[in-house]
Amino acid sequence: MMAATEKNLLIAAVSVLAIATITDALLRYRQRSSTAATSILIAAATLMLALAITVRWVREQQGPFLTLYDVLLSNLFSLGLICLIVYAVGPLLRVSTVVVLPFLVLVGLWLLSVPPDAVPLPATFDNSWLWLHVSSGKVFLGLCLVAAGSSALLLLDHFDLSGRHLRTNIQAGELDAAIWPVFALAFICHSFMLIAGAVWAYSAWGRYWAWDPLETSALVTWLAMGLLLHARVTYRQMPLPISWVSVVAIFILAFLTFFGLPFSSLAPHKGLI
C-alpha cells in the first residue's frame, strides 16, 4: 500500500515536472512571463517528492542514503528545491529552467526505471555527520546545476544556437555575472561536503580519506572548481566560452561522482550516499 503510494507520488511529480518544462518553454516562446506558472509547478513537484520520501522513510525506518533509487529520489527532491529557491531569489537565473527542468525530467524518468529496493543502513554509518555530508553535497549539486544550466544557455547564445525566442530571454552580461556567485557558493558547499565526509568516514569506517574512486573524483571536482575560480580571477583575457564550458564540464563530473561511481566501483563507498 505504502509502496504504491510512493510510486504514484513519484509518477505525479515527474509528470508535473514534464508539464513545467513544456509550460516554461511555451510561455518563453510566446514572450510571456513564465515565473508564476513555472514556480508553482516546480513547488508542486517538489512537495510530491517530499511526500514520497516521507512515505518511504516511514516504511523503511531510515533515510534515503544507500541505493541508487534512494540517491536519485533524494537528489531529485533537493535539485527541485534548490532550483525553486534560486528561481525565487535570483530573477536573472530564472532562464536556466530551460535547461534545468528537462534535466530534472530525465532524472525523474531514470528514477522511475530503477528498482525501489532498500538496503539497511549499517549502524556505524548512522550519525549526524552523514546528514551534514549528504545535505551539503545536495546543495552543492543543486547550485552547480543552476550554474551549469545558465552556462549552457550562454554557450548556445554565444554560438547563435539559442534561437530568436530564447535569445530575448538571455541577458548575457548579467547572466554571466550571476553565475559566479552561485558557482562560488557551490564551491563552499563542496568544501564543506569534503570536510563533513572526512569526519563521517573517520567515524564510520575508520579512515578520513582513502583515495577510493569516489573520494578521488570528489577531490578532482573540488580542485577543478578551484582551478576555474583561480583562472577566472587571474587570466583576465580568458575567453568566456571556455569558462562556461568548464562550468558545464564540472557539473558533468559532479553528476558522475554522485550517480555513477558509487554504484560502479567496488570501493568501500559503494552505494553509501
Partner: protein, 337 residues
C-alpha cells in the same frame, strides 16, 4: 631572494600544481602502477607556491579573508603531512576475558616519526554483544573493556558502533569482524596447566566454515571444527553473545577417529590432556593514531568561514550591486597575480 620568491609565487605555477594533483590522483586510481604517494610532490610545490604568494602578493594583505583562507589551507596540508609521519594504523583480535597484548597487533601503516606508546596501553576484554534484526541485519555492537589506569584505577568503556575508546592517544574501534573462540586448558605430563583460546573465523558471516587448526604445546597438530547446536534463526531478531551459542567441537588429529567434545570434556593427546572450558566471543579491533586530526578539522573550518566571507565581500558587497564588465568575450575581475 625576493625575485625568487616572486617567481615561486606565480599563479601559473598554482594552476600547474593543481593540474598535476588532478592528473596524478586520476592516474593512480586507474591502476597500481602509479602510487598515490607521488601526489606529495605537486602538493609540496603548491605549498611553497602559496607560502611565497602570501609573503610577496599584496592582494593577500589587502583581502584579510582571502589571506586567512590560504593560510588555513596551507595549515591543513602541513598538518596532514605531519600527521602522516606520526600516524599509526593496525588491527587485532581480542577474546572475552583476555588482556590486550600490543605484540599481537598487526601494523597496517606506521609513520616514520610515530612515538610508539602502545606498550603503555592496558585493558581487559569484557562481555561482547552484537544485536541482529530479522534477516541477519547487524545492528548495535557492544564491547565492554576495562582499562587499567595509573594508580590501579579501572575505567570501564563500552565500545560500540558510534563510540570508540581513546587510550593514550590511540583510538580503538570495534569492527564488523567478530567471532567465536573456544577456551581450552592444556595440562602437560607434569600437571602444569596452560589456558588459552582458539579463534574461529568470523561469525556469523562464515557460519558454514568454523574450522581452525592448532598445534598443542605437546607438538601435535589438531583440527577443530566448531559445531553450533542449532542454526541461526535468520527470520528473527537475535543477539549474539557467547552464552547464546550452544556448541560442540569436532576434533581430528593424525589418523585418529573424529571425536566430538562438549563443554567440560577432556581428551588425551600426545604429551598432555586437552579440556574444553567454554565458548567466548572475540572482537576484531582497529587501532589508529592521528592526534592532529582535530587541528586539521579546525583549520579546515576556519578556511571555509574565511572563504565564505571573502566571497561575500566579492560578490555581495554591502552597498554595491554585483557588476560585470561584460565585453562580449572578456570579463574583468580583481587580479591577484
Amino acid at each position: 631572494m625576493m625575485s625568487m620568491f616572486t617567481r615561486l609565487a606565480s599563479l601559473k605555477l598554482t594552476l600547474f600544481g593543481i593540474l598535476a594533483v588532478i592528473v596524478l590522483a586520476v592516474l593512480s586510481n586507474k591502476g597500481p602502477e602509479l602510487s598515490i604517494g607521488w601526489v606529495v610532490l605537486p602538493l609540496a610545490i603548491l605549498s611553497l607556491n602559496l607560502l611565497a604568494a602570501i609573503v610577496t602578493n599584496s592582494t593577500f594583505r589587502n583581502q584579510p579573508a582571502l589571506l586567512v583562507f590560504h593560510v588555513c589551507l596551507l595549515s591543513v596540508v602541513v598538518l596532514l603531512g605531519i600527521g602522516l609521519l606520526i600516524r599509526f594504523d593496525g588491527h587485532f583480535e581480542l577474546t572475552e576475558g583476555e588482556t590486550f597484548d600490543p605484540s599481537v597487533v598487526q601494523v597496517t601503516e606506521q609513520g616514520a616519526w610515530h612515538p610508539s606508546n602502545l606498550g603503555s596501553v592496558s585493558f581487559k576484554q569484557g562481555e561482547i554483544e552484537v544485536a541482529y534484526l530479522p534477516g541477519l541485519v547487524r545492528r548495535d555492537t557492544r564491547s565492554l573493556i576495562a582499562e587499567n589506569r595509573p594508580g590501579g584505577r579501572i575505567r570501564n568503556v563500552v565500545i560500540g558502533d558510534r563510540v570508540n575508546a581513546n587510550i593514550n592517544g590511540y583510538r580503538f574501534m570495534a569492527t564488523f569482524n567478530k567471532g567465536l573462540a573456544v577456551v581450552v586448558v592444556w595440562s602437560d605430563a607434569f600437571g602444569n596447566l596452560q589456558r588459552g583460546s582458539i579463534n574461529f573465523p568470523s561469525y556469523p558471516e562464515y557460519e558454514w566454515k568454523q574450522v581452525n587448526t592448532w598445534t598443542t604445546p605437546g607438538g601435535e597438530e589438531v583440527k577443530l571444527e566448531l559445531k553450533p547446536a542449532a542454526q541461526i534463526a535468520r527470520d528473527e531478531a537475535w543477539v549474539l553473545r557467547s552464552d547464546s551459542v550452544p556448541f560442540a567441537i569436532e576434533l581430528k588429529w593424525g589418523a585418529n577417529p573424529l571425536r566430538v567434545l562438549r563443554l567440560g570434556d577432556t581428551i588425551r593427546l600426545r604429551n598432555g590432556m586437552l579440556r574444553i572450558e567454554g565458548l567466548r566471543l572475540w572482537m576484531g579491533y582497529r587501532i589508529d593514531y592521528y592526534p592532529l586530526l582535530s587541528w586539521v578539522f579546525t583549520a579546515a573550518l576556519f578556511a571555509l568561514v574565511a572563504l565564505a566571507i571573502h566571497f561575500q565581500t566579492k560578490f555581495w558587497p554591502a552597498r554595491r550591486p554585483a557588476q560585470s564588465t561584460y565585453t562580449g568575450g572578456v570579463m574583468a575581475h580583481d587580479g591577484c597575480d
